[in-house]
């Protein structure tokens, strides 16, 4: 089960990287984002999409890349310590996407499809990581 979860987190992280890279290049080149609604452009142009002057997708890119590296490293080592940073990133991730989704809905008042996809993605990663974490701990106590 652990193996399966770890694979899924890895694949979801890769998906997250792709989305983040695509959206980030639009931020940097200031080109329009292909979006199912009009939201992406509104969100991209909002100043809230640059916390500390850093474009939001950059956070995603770093987070997903770390997750992909860490999950990969788990295949090379049996150490359970690797789970802690993964869980920490996933927790930060869901806090971040929850904050940003809140900003989109109530402050920017526009929803960007890619951000929504990334938010769901991060929640899935968190859920899977949480399951992995729980399992290792159960095994420990037994």
């Amino acid at each position: 089960m652990q193996k399966k979860y770890n694979r899924l987190v890895f694949i979801l992280s890769l998906a997250g990287i792709i989305v983040a890279v695509y959206v980030l290049q639009s931020f940097v080149r200031q080109s329009s984002i292909i979006c199912v609604n009009q939201g992406c452009e509104l969100v991209r142009k909002s100043s809230y999409s640059y916390p500390f002057g850093i474009p939001v997708p950059a956070f995603g890119l770093v987070g997903y890349t770390l997750l992909a590296i860490l999950t990969f490293l788990r295949t090379t080592s049996t150490s359970k310590k690797l789970l802690y940073p993964i869980l920490a990133i996933a927790i930060f991730g869901i806090l971040f996407v929850t904050w940003f989704t809140y900003m989109e809905l109530f402050v920017i008042r526009a929803v960007c499809t890619w951000c929504a996809i990334s938010a769901v993605n991060m929640y899935l990663i968190f859920y899977l990581t949480f399951r992995m974490f729980n399992e290792t701990h159960r095994h420990k106590s037994v």
Binding site: K3, R7, F10, I11, L14, I18, Q30, S31, S32, I34, C35, Q38, E41, A68, T71, F72, T75, T76
Partner: protein, 222 residues
């Protein structure tokens, strides 16, 4: 003997490290990379230029010289604030280059703008009486106060034949034309308003100033 033992040991170690699972992960990563590369390659191929006939159907509202080599087409929404900003600039650009530029306005009413379609119907109804551009300007100038009543009352303001105008407006005679513009726009890859096509190529504008520059450049090159 000892040396070969060590080397065997080393190679075993490496083999041990790269477990089947690691290889599986690498395969997924490489596979993803290949798919993304193919995707980028396919998407970055330049879109074929659209023809003048495709972009400017005979019934479309136009300005400028229809013999001009350079043609500019705008897909716009009467209720979109950015379209309002661009509308005055477009008029300026067309006025400045009226001998060398052919401009056409096409409808792209967005679904979230409830008055965009009525406004487009009103503009077409006025267009029937040769006053499309007067209505166009009037709507953009009063974008904040748009309403069905406002559009109906516009007939008096612009000196239109009221009965004829109201009939065209209320019976939505030009709905098909607007729908055609909308479906053409979608087909041409319009995803936001305003979207401009200059000589058949979609423009990526970062500021209103870019439009003016692009038009001047196109005219110079033609």
């Amino acid at each position: 003997m000892r040396l070969t033992d060590i080397s065997r040991c080393k190679s075993n170690k490496i083999k041990m490290k790269l477990s089947g699972e690691s290889k599986f992960f690498i395969a997924i990563a490489v596979g993803t990379l290949i798919m993304v590369t193919i995707g980028i390659f396919l998407m970055s191929r330049p879109a074929p230029k659209l023809t003048r006939a495709e972009l400017i159907p005979a019934s479309a509202a136009t300005l400028g010289n229809n013999q001009a080599a350079t043609f500019l087409v705008e897909f716009s929404d009467f209720q979109c604030p950015a379209c309002k900003t661009f509308s005055s600039l477009v008029k300026e650009v067309v006025e400045k280059n009226k001998d060398n530029l052919f401009f056409s306005y096409r409808h792209f009413p967005l679904s979230q703008h409830k008055l965009a379609v009525p406004a487009a119907l009103a503009a077409e109804a006025a267009g029937e009486q040769g006053k499309f551009w007067e209505m166009h300007d009037y709507i953009f100038a009063n974008q904040e106060s748009l309403s069905e009543e406002f559009l109906l009352a516009a007939a008096d303001k612009l000196g239109l034949d009221k009965e004829k105008y109201e009939k065209a407006f209320k019976e939505k005679i030009y709905q098909d034309k607007i729908n055609k513009d909308l479906s053409d726009g979608t087909k041409f890859g319009v995803d936001s308003t305003p979207t401009f096509f200059l000589n058949g190529e979609k423009l990526n504008l970062f500021s209103p100033k870019d439009l003016e520059n692009a038009v001047s450049k196109a005219i110079k090159n033609n």
